[in-house]
Assembly symmetry: C3
Homo-oligomer: 340 residues x 3
C-alpha cells in the first residue's frame, strides 16, 4: 500500500514540509533510506543522515532545526519517536489482521472456537480443545486434545501443542515451537537399559508470554511446567519438565533449563546458558551468556562462568587466566632462585 505525505500528516496529526504528494510504501532506517521509504529522526546522533538520506519522507519533531539543506520531504509531529512507533504498530496490526478459517483444516467436533479467529490451512484442533476470541493460528499448526488457548493469541506456522496444555491470553508462539512434549525421564533397569517414566503432567503458559522459534517446553512428569505472565523466551531454548519461570523473566537464545528448576521474577538470562535441575534461582538474578549454573542463586545476584559464580570475581579470575603462562614462568623462576 502507498501513502502520501499528506495522508500521513492527517493520520499522525502532523504538518508536511516539502512535497505533500511524495509517496511511500515501506519503512526504513534513516541511514539506509531508499526511494519510496518512510523514515524518522528522533536520536540527535543520527541527525547527520537527514541531509543525505534517500528516504522519500522523514518524520521529525516540531522543534527540529536543520543546520543544512534537506532534500527529502519532512513530516513534522509533536514527538517523532512515538509517531513512528504508532505507525509501526498500525503496520504490524494490518499485517496480522487475517480472520476466517482456511480450507482444509481439521477441527474436532468437540472443540470450541471463539469469535473472529483465524485458522490457517493444514492446521488441526483436537478433541475438547478450545480457542479464545481473536486468536490467530497460522498454517500447519497442530493443537492436541484438551488444550485451552486464550484470547488474542498469535500462533505461527508449524507449532505443536501437545494434549492437556493451557495457553493464556495474548500469548505469541513463533514458528516451530513445541509445547508439552514428554519430559526426559527414564529409569535405569536391571538390563542396563532404560524404562520410560510416563510424563502425564502438562504445560501452563500465562498471559503476555512470547516464545521464540523452535523453542521447546516439555510437559511436567506430574503437575505442570509453568511459564508465568510476561515471560519472554528467545529462539531454540529448552525448558525441561516441571520447570517454573517467574513473571517478566527474559531468556536469550539457546539457553537450557533442566528439570524442576524454579526461576524467579524479572531475571535476565543470557544466551547459551545452561542451568542444572532442581535449583532455585531468585528474583532479579542476571546470568551472563554461556554460563553453567550448578547451584542455587540468591535474589539480585549477577553470575558468570561454568560452573557459575559471582560475575565480578569471575571477570577478575579470567583476567589472571589470560596471563597464566607468564605467572607460571615467574613461579618457576622463583622456585629456581629459592632452591639455589
Amino acid at each position: 500500500m502507498e501513502f502520501s505525505a499528506k495522508q500521513l500528516a492527517e493520520l499522525l496529526d502532523g504538518r508536511v514540509e516539502g512535497d505533500a504528494e511524495s509517496t511511500v510504501s515501506k519503512l526504513s532506517k534513516i541511514e539506509e533510506g531508499g526511494k519510496g521509504s518512510l523514515s524518522f529522526l528522533a536520536n540527535p546522533a543520527y541527525e547527520k543522515y537527514i541531509y543525505t538520506t534517500t528516504a522519500s519522507i522523514v518524520i521529525v519533531s516540531e522543534d527540529f532545526k536543520p543546520t543544512a539543506d534537506i532534500s527529502t520531504t519532512l513530516l513534522r509531529v509533536p514527538d517523532a519517536y512515538s509517531a513512528f512507533a504508532k505507525l509501526l504498530e498500525m503496520y504490524n496490526a494490518m499485517r496480522n489482521s487475517k480472520t476466517g478459517i482456511e480450507k482444509p483444516t481439521f477441527i474436532s467436533e468437540s472443540a470450541k472456537i471463539g469469535k473472529d479467529i483465524y485458522l490457517g490451512a493444514f492446521s488441526s484442533i483436537g478433541d475438547f480443545s478450545s480457542v479464545g476470541d481473536g486468536t490467530r493460528i497460522h498454517q500447519n499448526v497442530q493443537i492436541g486434545d484438551n488444550v485451552t488457548i486464550g484470547e488474542n493469541c498469535t500462533i505461527f506456522p508449524g507449532v505443536t501443542i501437545y494434549a492437556d496444555c493451557e495457553i493464556g491470553n495474548s500469548v505469541t508462539l513463533h514458528a516451530g515451537v513445541v509445547i508439552g512434549a514428554d519430559g526426559f525421564g527414564f529409569a535405569p533397569n536391571s538390563e542396563n537399559s532404560y524404562d520410560k517414566v510416563a510424563q502425564i503432567g502438562n504445560v501452563i503458559i500465562e498471559d503476555h508470554v512470547e516464545i521464540g522459534a523452535n523453542t521447546t517446553i516439555d510437559r511436567a512428569t506430574l503437575g505442570s511446567t509453568i511459564i508465568r505472565k510476561g515471560v519472554k523466551l528467545d529462539n531454540l531454548i529448552q525448558v525441561a519438565h516441571n520447570v517454573e519461570i517467574g513473571e517478566n523473566t527474559v531468556i536469550a537464545s539457546q539457553s537450557g533449563i533442566a528439570g524442576s528448576t524454579k526461576i524467579g521474577k524479572n531475571c535476565m538470562i543470557g544466551g547459551q546458558v545452561g542451568i542444572v535441575g532442581h535449583l532455585n534461582i531468585g528474583d532479579n538474578v542476571r546470568i551472563a551468556a554461556q554460563s553453567g549454573v550448578s547451584k542455587n542463586i540468591k535474589e539480585g545476584k549477577v553470575v558468570q562462568g561454568s560452573p557459575a559464580y559471582d560475575y565480578t570475581e569471575y571477570t577478575k579470575s579470567y583476567a589472571v587466566f589470560r596471563r597464566l603462562p607468564d605467572l607460571a614462568k615467574d613461579l618457576h623462576q622463583l622456585k629456581k632462585t629459592n632452591e639455589s
Copy 2:
C-alpha cells in the same frame, strides 16, 4: 473421565479407607493435590503432606501407619509406587490410543501400511515407504520416499523423515524432529566458495530409541548415521553425518556431535556438550554438561571442561581458578621480596 475410589480399588486390587464414592479425574503430586485429583504416598519424606493434602484420593501402601488425622480418602495397595506407576501407564496408553487414517492425508500408492496404525491429518508417506503395525503418526508429519518404519512407533506432529531412512520398532520421535537432512559437507573450491558434497547415505534408528523435540540427525555422506538400540536423546540435539551412538547411551538437551564420531554404549552425556568429529568415545563414559570434547575418551572415564579432561582434575583446577587473583597477588609479593 471420572473414577470413584471403589472403581480404582477394583482396578488396583486395593482397599478403600474413607469415602468409597469420592471421585477423581486427574493425577497430582501429593503436595499440590486439588479437589478431584488422585495422588500417592511412597517416599516417607513426603508423609507430612498426607495430613494436609487437598487431593481427593491418595494411594498408600498396606503398611502405612498415619500419625495424625487424615481427611482424604485412602486407597491401600500392596505397593503404592507400583500401583501409581501402573495407573500412569494406563492413563498414557488411553491418551495415545487413536487409530485410523484422518483426512486429508497423502499416501503414495507404492507405500505399504500396516494394521492398526494411526495417521493424523496433513501427513504424507512417500513412494515405496512402509509403516509397521500399530505405529501412530500424528499430524503434519512428512515421511519421504523409501523410508522404513517399524511396529508400535509413535511419531509426533511436525516430524520430517528424509528419503531412505530406516526406523526400528517401538521408536518415539517427538515433535519437530528432523531425521536424515543432508550432512554439513562442503568442499572449498578455487573461487573461495564451496561446492556441496552430495550426501547420499541414510540414518538408521534401532528399536526402543526415543528422540526429543526439534532434535536433528543428519544422513551419512555415504553409509549410515546410526542410533543404536535403547538410545535416549533429549530436545534440540545435533547429531552430524556418519555418527554412531552406542546402545542405551543417554544424551541431555542441546548437545552436539560432529561428523563421524563414534560413541560407545551406556554413556551419559550432559546438556550443551560439544564433541568434535572423527573421535572414539568408549563405553560407560560420562561427560559433564557444557564440556567440549576434542580427543578420544577411554571406556569408563568421566570428563569435564572445554577442552574436556579428567573430571576430578578439572574440578580441582577450577577451584584454584576461582582464587587466581589472590594467587597472583601472593606471587607478585614474593617476587618483590625476592628482588629486594
Copy 3:
C-alpha cells in the same frame, strides 16, 4: 533402480573387469560394502579393503594394480574419484527430480508460480508471493505473504518463511528452518514488564546459501537481516535480527549470533559459538567451537575462549590451567619458605 556393470561402464566411459552382468542398486563405502552395492577405490590407504570387500562392483582408476586376488567386479575409469562423484550427483539429481503440484496445497490467487516447480502436499504460498522456475518446495512448508523465492531452490518439509522475506536463487533450506520470525526486541516499561518492539524488517538470503535443519533466522527490527551469497549454515543455529553474514562464511551447528552483529566474508565459525550483539567480525576470521565472542575481531584472527581472545594464547593459558593445583602448591610452599 538396478544397474549392471555393463550399463555403468557405458555411462562412465569405463571398462569392466569381471562379471559384466553383476548388478548394483545402492552406493557404499568400500569397507562396508554389501551385496548389490557399488563402491570406489581412490585413496591408496583403503586399498586393503578391495581384496575383501563384499561390494558387488568397485570403481577403480585405470592404473590401479592389484597385489592380490580380487573377487568383486572392477570398473576401470580414468579417474575413480571423479567418476564416483559424477554418479553421486546423478543419484542425487534423480532423487530430487519431482515436479508438479500435489493436492491439497494452498496457493494465493495473487501468488506467482514459475515453470517446472514442485509443490508438496499441505504447503501454502501467501498473497503476492512469487516462486521462481525450477524451485522444489516439499510438504508442510508455509510461505507467508509478499515472499520472493528465486529459481532452482530446494525447500524441505516443515519450513516456515514469514512475510516479506526474500530468498535468492539456488538456495537450500532444510527441514524445520524458520526464516523471518520476530527479532527478540522488548523495551522495559514502568510496570517492570516489557513492551514488544514491532519487528517490521525482513530477511534477505542471497544465492547459493544452504541452511541446516531447524536453524532460525530472525527478521530485522527495521531494514534487513542479510545472509550473503554462498554462506553455509549448519543445523540449529540462531541468527538474530539485523545480523549480516558475509559471503562464503561457514558456521557449524548450534552457534548463535546476537542482534546487529556483522560478520565478514570467508569466516569459519565452530559449533556452539556465541557472539554478542553489535560487533564487527572481520573477513577470514576463525572462531573455535564453544567460544564466546564479546569484542570486535580483526580480519584474519583466530580466537578461542569465553570470552574469546587469541587462539594460541588461550591454548597456552589452558595448558597452565590444567596444572593449577600443582602451581598453587608450589606457591604455598614458597610462601612458607619465605616466611620462615
